[in-house]
Amino acid sequence: MSLTPAELTSAVAGGIGSSPQRPDGNLKVRGEFAYASDLWHEDMIWGATLRSPHPYARILSIDLTEALQVPGVYAVLTHEDVRGKNRYGLEHKDQPVLAEDIVRYQGEPVALVGADHPETAQRAMKRIKVKYEVLTPVVDMETAVDDTPLHPGGNLVRHVPVRRGDQHAEAEVVVTGRYEVGMQDQAFLGPESGLAVPAEDGGVDLYIATQWLHVDQGQVAAALGLPLERVRLTLSGVGGAFGGREDLSMQVHACLLALHTGKPTKMVYNREESFYGHVHRHPAVLYYEHGADRTGKLVYVKARIYLDGGAYASSTPAVVANSATLGVGPYDVDNVTVDCWGVFTNNPPCGAMRGFGAVQSAFAYESQMDKLAEALGMDPVDVRIVNAMSEGSVMPTGQVVDSAAPVAQLLKLVKDKPMPPLSTAVDLRDMPGGVSNTTHGEGVVRGVGYAVGIKNICFSEGYDDYSTARVRLQIINGEPAALAHTAAAEVGQGLVTIMQQIVRTELGVERVTILPMDTSIGNGGSTSASRQTYVTGGAVKAACAAVREKLAKLAGGRDLAGVDLVGLLGDDVIDETVEWRHRATEPIDPETGQGNAHVQYGFAAHRAVVDVDVELGLVKVVELDCAQDVGKALNPQAVLGQIQGGSAQGLGLAVMEEIQTEGGKVRNPSFTDYLIPTVLDMPPMSIDVLELADPNAPYGVRGVGEPPTISSTPAIVAAIRAATGLALTRVPVRPEHITGT
């Protein structure tokens, strides 16, 4: 069996602006796609991870004796076996590969077992004896900074203040609120998995489901104490990511076992372990105060935002910056006082998830906009339009928004859509409670809500954000054939299709092949921040331009359009590799938050129509329509898919998705009790896609993946408020919040 999913590299038809079918689509629907969990190697062994049962404890001793005696066990490893530096992390290297003397969250890896069978590994793992001295966990994000320090530098990960305008501005109409966002999980369907194969050069080849090959490579190499070139990563079949694969999970663990035993080592988490094995969305507590004049025009916004980063830093610093800099939403506000704190606690570590800090703020500022509308007796859409930012607006960071920002237009688009009829016939599938037969119309009240959001696209704050692409052109069997190679992770979003479309358009050749994504080429950057079509797409486009330049030289000044490529190229091969960067950003001032921190902004608006069974507290989202500007839809079908998926994930946060914790322990690590929307929860969507090109971006594209996740949640909650008249300041909204029981 091949170790990379071949179908991802097979050809589709069509250039940019068309919607070729994904090469892996049918296989996935039929259940035949090879995910990383399907990896297999002759003679491989299986790894298992012993995890801490305690959110906070001191490890007094670890006894491996009995585990090592289990027949079939090849190795049992602890932190003492970590060959390189026992620390990793995306922004701060603060997380041990295997715990040393302290465990800081429930599920923290303590020891590894490698055995001939996954069951043997599990059995042996249960025979490892760890003595813990249980400590009192820090679990409250609002007081964590003054609580027991969990790391040498204390419990503050980052504080970002944003100060703009008059800090003492006063207004005629003032609304305040405290809001809470629960801990959402990415809930990708393919759990963490990979296969590490020891290599003859003393290094290792890792086949892995990840979002970012190169950042994994660097961290794995450092933990293994190996030079980069001896740690080679190849992307395997990835079953979704949504941010949850940006941090390491089993990468180093599998490599350690492989190097220690000399055997290919496979690790696959099951669903329960997956809940402990990756970071989640930061839960948040947000205090807001909005001041406006009688016309609804915002005079000032003040906010204090707390984000619970859990036990390790992960990407908390960047999430904090997003929450703060995007903290007032897509509105013009002259006077802004925002503070956002990301803190350490003994709750599960939190990091990247679709929307990345913008989701939490948006729930609060959009709830505030509705409250303001109510205080003013204004229509909720009107109050937003009065304040809507537009091209040329100045962000609270002082950054000028220099491409399309059609906030008012997006709001009008969703507002002007026809309303769904009130259903008359009783079809249980259309009712709150669905087929569970809880109502035939009794207690059902309809509500409508609106929201709009803003998201930064690509990496921010001066990060050197780039991608590398190689494009080769040659004649094969008398036909021009192009090949493209990057290390940018295809996680299910369709980048492989986009890359082919770009090459086809740029080079005018039909035959385009994509090489497997691996670290034999330079960094492709993360598949996150809605950035791959923009940045890797930009790199592929630039590599094609470099190929065209070579062709032009060969053609000696003749117009390429009329040239026969077969004759021109002959046996020559043109092979160009390009590193492509979007325009640079700047760090923000640590005291005022001022600076051109972001590359581009994306906007989406939603209108939600809900039916609420007010007696039982059950919700049916009847309609969830969206308008979004995508700059240019390179693949219109894929754009719709992103908007539908993002909106569904926002719906999940609005009404059901939450990792519930108690004293730092996860209470629902399974899909039995961590519920994600089904087809009966997510309504069909009517979507308006605007294509207002960003002159700074390749083809004018604007990142698509995250904005719909941001506005969907507050729109739905606004609709539930409209139906119930309740304040509903926490998501997910539970039946108890509606019934008051």
Binding site: E119, Q122, N270, E272, R429, P432, G433, G434, V435, S436, N437, T438, T439, H440, E442, G443, E615, L616, G617, L618, K620, V655, M656, Q660, R667, N668, T672, D673, L675, P677, T678, V679, L680, D681, R734, P735, E736, T739, T741
Partner: protein, 295 residues
């Protein structure tokens, strides 16, 4: 782990007598989850899927009111919905709310009983509808009333050498209802559930709650109250719309029958509240239906 695959019931019972530790597996929708998550490693699995007797139903007990359908413990939900919906409306309704189409294709009432989860969807219906569980061993066959079957959280009245061979469910043309609350509109475990069955021939009402106590249980006080109320007002012969006060009292008594806990799925207070709402609504639907049929 031994995998025992009897072809006949007699063989299965003999095996179970020899190996009382063998865990029966029917649709496997509970058992396989436990195995996959390593929550259970029985010494032996006893596969019941080859036994034709368990995978059929018959109406030798009579098709009309007063009759009984005997459903083999291995008949999947999909078939109950498709083949028995007209005769056993409550059971079909509950079956429809179980899991997803895939789960309903595999999952069985026998398995639901074997698991005896307080949240199992068929239990309230079996209780309200006066069903009986047929259990067999090499020692013989006995009938256990549903009311005596559930002993505790995931504990039931089977002896270690017994298998569930069937459930006997009284046939009815009278209305039955089942409703469950979950925080998702499909594929959800009950936060609480409720079943009501009208028994006009005996002038009785059956009512039972699920997922709201250590076991599924009947709401006896609610049953008594409503039965008495309907009989004294001569409602069975000439039904009239139910008074709100009657529905409300019925709902209160149903909630009082529950003894729920706070857990990740819902609070105890919510469960009680929701049960009273479900009781009122389902009674209303059943009664309207009945009134239309009688008049």
């Amino acid at each position: 782990m031994d995998f025992l695959r009897p072809d006949t019931l007699a063989e299965a019972l003999a095996l179970k007598a020899q190996r009382p530790d063998a865990v029966p597996i029917a649709g496997g929708t509970d058992v396989m989850v436990e195995l996959n998550f390593d929550h259970r490693r029985p010494a032996a699995l006893l596969d019941l899927t080859r036994i034709a007797e368990l995978r059929s139903w018959d109406s030798a007990g009579g098709n009309g009111d007063g009759g009984t359908v005997r459903i083999g413990s291995g008949v999947p939900y999909t078939r109950i919905i498709d083949e028995l919906g007209d005769r056993l409306p409550g059971l079909a309704m509950a079956s429809r709310t179980v899991g997803s189409p895939q789960i309903r294709n595999r999952g069985t009432v026998g398995g639901n009983l074997g698991a005896a989860s307080p949240a199992g969807d068929t239990h309230p219906v079996l209780l309200a509808g006066d069903a009986t569980v047929e259990a067999a061993s090499t020692r013989g066959t006995r009938l256990i009333p549903a009311t005596e079957f559930y002993l505790g959280v995931k504990r039931h009245a089977l002896e270690p050498d017994e298998l569930i061979t069937a459930v006997h469910v009284p046939v009815t043309r009278a209305p039955q209802q089942f409703a469950k609350v979950g925080t998702r509109n499909a594929m959800v475990i009950a936060v609480c559930s409720f079943a009501v069955a009208l028994h006009p021939a005996r002038q009785r009402v059956g009512a039972a709650v699920g997922s709201a106590a250590p076991t599924p249980r009947r709401a006896s006080a609610a049953e008594e109250f409503l039965s008495a109320e309907l009989t004294s007002a001569n409602q069975w012969e000439s039904p009239k719309p139910l008074l709100d006060s009657v529905k409300r009292r019925f709902g209160e008594l149903v909630a009082e029958a529950a003894n729920p806990i706070d857990d990740v799925r819902g609070s105890a207070a919510y469960r009680k509240h929701a049960l009273s709402v479900l009781a009122r609504r389902t009674l209303d639907w059943a009664w309207r239906d009945y009134s239309e049929k009688v008049t």
